[in-house]
């Protein structure tokens, strides 16, 4: 009797195992055929020269060596991308957190403000690029018109924004702040999860708004700050479309980002080996940064009482 029971339980478990795999099978197929296999294949292709017409030829590390030692455009695109990440990620964090702090007060119409801040996030990136080309247009754009009193005051020439190599990167970064409402929503939700009792006892101790923000709000928000930081870095290293539409990578390659160079290697030159090597360099950079950040995360991020 007993052994019969255990064997039927075993049968059920076996059955559930099969059913589990069946339910997961579309995704499992996808992750193997469209995920793991391409990642490994691109590693192999990165050790070859391959133009999609003749068969790939194995050349070892040559693609990597050429990129690192004999390709100024590679370094230029790398620098442009690092510059973009190093400024846009911190600026995005500060903007998003500031907006959330502003909204994290019990005021009327909070959800209306939240909607307005969030709105730019639903706009197609092409429409967004065209819109900001018009706003930043040096001669007839609204932004230079708004700044014209300042230009006059300091007797300076109007900025050329995306049309000049010295300001193009910053222009694209500033534009990106228009979508800071996306991360703000996440910060705000986490801020509103913070127990009111913490603030009340701080008030009893005579803490002001700044002290409460520094000692309660920000430390308890570290998980969402960390999340947005990682996502910001991963996204920042892949910056492409906005430059493709607004500047074509120019002027004088000042917005020619890493992903843009890779795109050209792939779609224009059909050097699939070189492009794959660049993709793997990108993957390794992102892996190093996230591992480093995860280590830091353990020390800095507040994970709640249970852990």
């Amino acid at each position: 009797m007993k052994s019969e029971n255990t064997s039927s339980i075993k049968k059920l478990k076996k059955q559930e195992n099969i059913i589990g795999y069946l339910f997961a099978s579309p995704w499992l197929l996808g992750i193997t055929l469209l995920g793991a296999f391409p990642i490994l294949a691109s590693l192999y292709i990165s050790f070859t020269t391959y133009d999609m017409i003749s068969a790939p030829t194995f050349i070892g590390l040559k693609n990597y060596i050429i990129l690192f030692t004999n390709d100024t455009i590679f370094w230029k695109s790398m620098w442009n991308t690092v510059y973009h990440v190093m400024i846009s990620v911190p600026l995005g964090l500060v903007t998003g957190i500031s907006l959330a702090l502003l909204l994290n007060n019990k005021i009327k119409g909070m959800s209306v403000y939240r909607t307005m801040f969030y709105l730019p996030n639903v706009v197609s990136i092409v429409a967004m690029a065209l819109l900001w080309m018009w706003l930043f247009q040096p001669n007839f754009g609204v932004i230079n018109e708004l700044l014209s009193p300042i230009y006059k005051l300091f007797n300076m020439e109007p900025l050329q924004w995306y049309q000049s190599a010295s300001t193009s990167k910053i222009t694209l970064i500033l534009m990106g702040m228009w979508t800071a409402g996306g991360s703000m929503v996440i910060y705000l939700a986490q801020m509103q999860d913070i127990p009111v009792s913490l603030y009340e006892s701080a008030e009893v101790d005579g803490a002001n708004w700044i002290q409460k923000t520094i000692h309660i709000t920000l430390p308890l928000m570290t998980p969402s700050i960390f999340f947005n930081f990682i996502m910001g870095i991963i996204g920042g290293f892949q910056v492409f479309t906005i430059a493709y539409i607004m500047t074509n990578g120019g002027p004088s390659r000042s917005t020619y980002y890493f992903a843009y160079y890779m795109f050209d290697k792939m779609m224009t030159d059909h050097s699939m080996g070189m492009a794959s090597a660049m993709a793997w360099i990108l993957l390794i950079i992102i892996l190093i940064i996230t591992t480093f950040a995860l280590r830091l995360n353990k020390r800095v991020v507040y994970l709640g009482e249970e852990s």
Binding site: G30, L103, I107, L130, L131
Partner: protein, 289 residues
Amino acid sequence: MTEPVKKPKLTKKQKRRIKAAILHVVLIIASFGFVFPFLWMLFTALKTPAELLQGFQQFFPSDPQWGNFVKAVTSIPFFMYLKNSLIIVVLVVTGTLFSATTAAYAFAKLRWKGRDKWFLVMLATMMIPIQVILIPTYIMYSYLGWLSTRLPLIVPAFFGGGAAFYIFLLRQFFKGIPKELTESAIIDGANHLQIFFKIMLPLSKPALLTVALFTFMATWNDYFGPLIFLSNPDHWTLAIGLRSFQTQFGGRYDLMMAASILIMLPTLLLFFFAQKSFIEGITFTGIKG
């Protein structure tokens, strides 16, 4: 006795009011900064080419050029692009719902070997830049002869392509559905397919709506995927079409803004109507992710 107590109370209230007023002023200025580009877009779309060059001197369009929208629609094969966008969006939303719900059910409610390891793999895929899988898949589709079709944009959705966030979101939602419900259904002789269709999916409507909305927006707005994979101009989506508009009418910002507004309209409307499930979805992935 009561008076000295009352006085500071009043000033405290006043203080709070002043604070609130300052806050509102700051918030109104800030939100104006976020919303003004939209307004300027609309005004620009309704102006004449001459008015475009006058900036703030001609803040509002003097004689709204509604014809600009007609011109924007008729000067590119707008309705063909619209049809293509809709075909791709509808199929990708369907595919994502299929692959994300089945996988989420397996992760949330079934015990199978390696489940937890696969779950970690799924979370890790969120961090992998698409460039790494792009080239081999491009080569693969080229061998399959798919580069002249829409298939590279549609088929992956049925296999969980880009669905990691949604699987995660749905799994959390499914986990919240009480065990008793599924267990009693099993005792009544229901199989997992029945539980999935008759209990899980009907109870998860809000989460399914969120996933559908996010997928709709992401696919409608996607530029990179169509740019790489749609080589046939007859398959171009609105996002790609809008870009061809730019190369054709470089300086005509009135027409470009009109076309941009038309492309933004569906996502803006969707956002306004389904704001709640939208914001909840974002905060969910952000905080619990």
